[in-house]
């Protein structure tokens, strides 16, 4: 005999009323629909009006221009690009340049930010003052000014390519950037990469196993010798069997510039340094606030267990602080990404510079290009937010909150 309660009949109409109408009931639903209709109508009017007027004035419209040849060059491209490629490819080139400066900037900003925060919290008087001065100086100066400072400071300090500073004859620093030998894959490359990947996966698996052993059985397993062997010994052994995975092409001074090798342009360095140090000042304050938000008793509990200050921070305080840190940290990541559009001031070919700048004035299609650029920044920002939300959710879950 079943004693289960009967399911209530589905009340879709009621649900709709509650979601859309709230307390106002069916009237509220009607208002919502009317409002949505008006919004849609306004949007339609704007688009159709703009389209008609663009046509009247013979201003080219639509996205057909993306298939046209760009006809100009870009000095840092992560994918192959020449002047005879399309505007669509310019868009991708610019987007990748924006992404690479943002990602590198975020990594450095986070690392510097955490270090500065720990400095400020340090009981060492000198360290904490240094941290404080860093934060107050950097965050109170305009970012554009800092970018220009790094760019002009970097350029002014460096010699021209003919007098470049040589690092052991293989890398060269000049005002054209840092030139380093570029790797050229050989026959041993494939097995080398395969073994390296295997080593990394095995090391991670080992770590999971060791943690489980520690938490479930209280057994301490020393894994670092095996990890060392997996990550370095195994690839070395492969190299002996299959030969060198790659050789290096050395840069050589030829004419005005270096030929061969890879180059990191000074614009990239200046922009990354400026973005990373600037954002780090804000991250430092966020991290400091996060750590201070953890009750002092936690720190004392850590020391009474005999943990060192570093271990207490790493194992007890920071994991709890992360819950407070992550949301504002996300904001800083978003700011850094958006601030990278200041690149145009120093000639770094980011999305705004090559697409919303050069391409816009070559084609004159301001509405399409600005819309695409805005859409991309929105997308990048939403993706970053989503990733950080997932991370924040995991942090909260692991703390059982």
């Amino acid at each position: 005999m079943s004693t289960e309660a009967r399911k209530p009949p589905p009340q879709i109409a009621l649900k709709i009323r509650r979601i859309l109408g709230g307390k106002a009931g069916w009237n509220g639903v009607a208002v919502q629909f009317a409002f949505a209709a008006i919004l849609g109508w306004i949007g339609y009017e704007i688009v159709s009006n703009a389209r008609a007027n663009l046509e009247n004035q013979h201003i080219a419209a639509g996205f057909g221009f993306l298939r046209n040849n760009a006809g100009f060059d870009v000095n840092q491209t992560l994918i192959s690009y020449t002047g005879s490629d399309t505007f669509l490819r310019v868009f991708v080139v610019g987007l990748l340049n924006t992404l690479v400066v943002s990602v590198v900037g975020i990594v450095f900003a986070t690392v510097i930010g955490f270090i500065v925060a720990l400095c400020r919290l340090s009981p060492n008087w000198l360290l904490s003052r240094v941290g404080e001065i860093y934060v107050e100086v950097i965050r109170n100066l305009p970012l554009l000014f800092q970018i220009l400072f790094w760019y002009l400071a970097v350029l002014a300090a460096l010699p021209n390519p003919r007098q470049s500073i040589s690092l052991f004859g293989i890398a060269f620093i000049s005002n054209r950037g840092l030139v380093i030998p570029s790797p050229i894959g050989q026959s041993g490359l494939a097995p080398f990469l395969a073994v390296l990947a295997l080593g990394i996966v095995a090391s991670l698996a080992l770590r999971v196993y060791a943690r489980r052993a520690l938490f479930q059985r209280g057994q301490v397993i020393r894994i670092w010798p095996s990890v060392l062997a997996l990550l370095f010994g195994l690839p070395l052994a492969t190299m002996l069997v299959f030969g060198l995975p790659f050789t290096f092409e050395l840069p050589q001074l030829r004419g005005f510039n270096f030929a061969g090798g890879s180059r990191i342009i000074p614009e990239f360095v200046a922009l990354t340094v400026a973005l990373a140090t600037y954002t780090a000042a804000f991250i430092a304050e966020i991290v400091r606030a996060g750590i201070l938000s953890v009750h002092k008793g936690q720190m004392e509990a850590g020391s009474s267990l005999g943990l060192s200050r570093g271990a207490t921070l790493r194992l007890i305080v920071v994991p709890q602080a992360m819950r407070v840190i992550v949301p504002p940290l996300t904001n800083q990541y978003l700011n850094l990404t958006k601030n990278s559009s200041l690149a145009v001031a120093i000639g770094y070919p980011d999305l705004v510079s090559v697409f919303a700048g050069t391409s816009l004035s070559q084609t004159g299609q301001a509405i399409e290009i600005i819309a695409m650029t805005m859409g991309v920044y929105l997308l990048i920002s939403l993706l970053t937010s989503a990733i950080m939300s997932v991370y924040g959710w995991r942090v909260s879950r692991s703390l059982g909150a």
């Binding site: 009006n49 870009v74 002047g83 145009v344 301001a366 805005m374």
Partner: protein, 338 residues
């Protein structure tokens, strides 16, 4: 930069949605009491502000001449400094009435921007400037050089074409404004600075030691620079077009800002037509009968404007060359006023 472009684009979208092609530019200008004129952010000889904020240059004088023809007052111009990449959007959105900003006349700009070129104020061509210490005598020796260029210009495309056609490699570093480009060139970021040759001479004056730099002999492109107006207002198009022609015609007839009053008294039928005592061409344009007199009194004839701003009477000291009148071996030619 981004914010400016964005603001202009929004203005463009809003302007386009608010009203159809407004064909009443002259009326708008008269109501406002000002001609709104888009110029560069500072290119000596063409449009640059002095330390008191007064604008001078050929492009500036074109706008002053338009204001002279309409208001008989050269000060009734509002100058709007624009970067290369913002200039067309500013014109399309109606923020400016005329774009007089060393802009190269090309077919794509003439046909796809919703704007028209009204004539050629200066025949230019793209060149290269290098440091003398590089010991380079020809642009063909520039293989693997780094080149500084202002973004959003025809220069950028000519550069790509030239190096490709001559099978040379190069690195391009593009900056948003002219000043940033020159600063980077001076800081040694690049070996070569390229722009229109007149611009090279003008920018060389801005460098700390102009004599350490030289302009290479090659001219790699045709750059006819001229003013632009929006589509859809033929009257305004005519006014801007004929303002330049009036300046050229005045030079051709030997009428200058100094002798114009005597010339007006002469019984020469052509002079009488041009200077307005015969016929009503000015009124047909929507201006006054004495429109040419007003223009010449305001800025002088084309030759005076050239000499004062870029020619012998200026620090740039550029030869008239192809910018001389057609009957003196140049390309400047105005249709007859009759």
């Amino acid at each position: 930069m981004k914010r400016v472009t964005l603001a202009l684009s929004l203005a463009l979208a809003a302007g386009l949605t608010a009203q159809a092609a407004e064909a009443q530019t002259l009326k708008t200008v008269k109501d406002r009491g000002m001609v709104s004129c888009g110029v560069s952010q500072g290119l000596p000889g063409f449009s640059s502000p002095d330390d008191k904020g007064n604008w001078t240059g050929i492009d500036v004088d074109v706008c002053r001449a338009i204001a002279g023809a309409i208001f008989n007052d050269p000060t009734k111009v509002k100058f709007v400094p624009l970067s290369a990449k913002d200039r067309f959007t500013a014109l399309q959105s109606g923020e400016i009435d005329v774009l007089s900003r060393n802009t190269t006349w090309t077919i794509s700009r003439d046909t796809s921007l919703g704007a028209n070129f009204t004539g050629v104020t200066y025949y230019d061509g793209q060149g290269f400037m290098v440091k003398k210490s590089l010991k380079v005598n020809s642009a063909l020796e520039l293989n693997s050089a780094s080149v500084c260029v202002q973004t959003g210009t025809t220069t950028e495309q000519n550069l790509a074409d030239y190096f490709k056609a001559n099978n040379m490699k190069y690195e391009v570093i593009a900056f948003a404004t002219n000043d940033e480009t020159v600063k980077a060139y001076e800081a040694g970021r690049c070996d070569v600075f390229t722009t229109d040759q007149s611009g090279l001479y003008a920018n060389r004056l801005k460098l700390a030691s102009p004599n350490d730099h030289m302009v290479l002999p090659e001219i790699i492109s045709k750059e006819p620079l001229g003013p632009m107006v929006r589509h859809g207002d033929d009257q305004w198009f005519d006014i801007v077009k004929w303002t330049l022609f009036a300046m050229l015609t005045a030079e051709e007839l030997g009428v200058t800002s100094k002798n114009i009053d005597e010339k007006a008294k002469l019984e020469n039928p052509e002079l009488k037509r041009v200077l307005g005592s015969d016929g009503n061409f000015g009124e047909q344009l929507g201006l006054t009968k004495d429109w040419v007199v007003r223009i010449v009194k305001t800025v002088g004839n084309y030759g005076e404007v050239f000499d004062r701003n870029v020619g012998a009477g200026s620090p740039l000291a550029i030869n008239r060359g192809v910018n001389n009148l057609w009957n003196k071996g140049g390309l400047q030619y105005a249709p007859p006023i009759r």
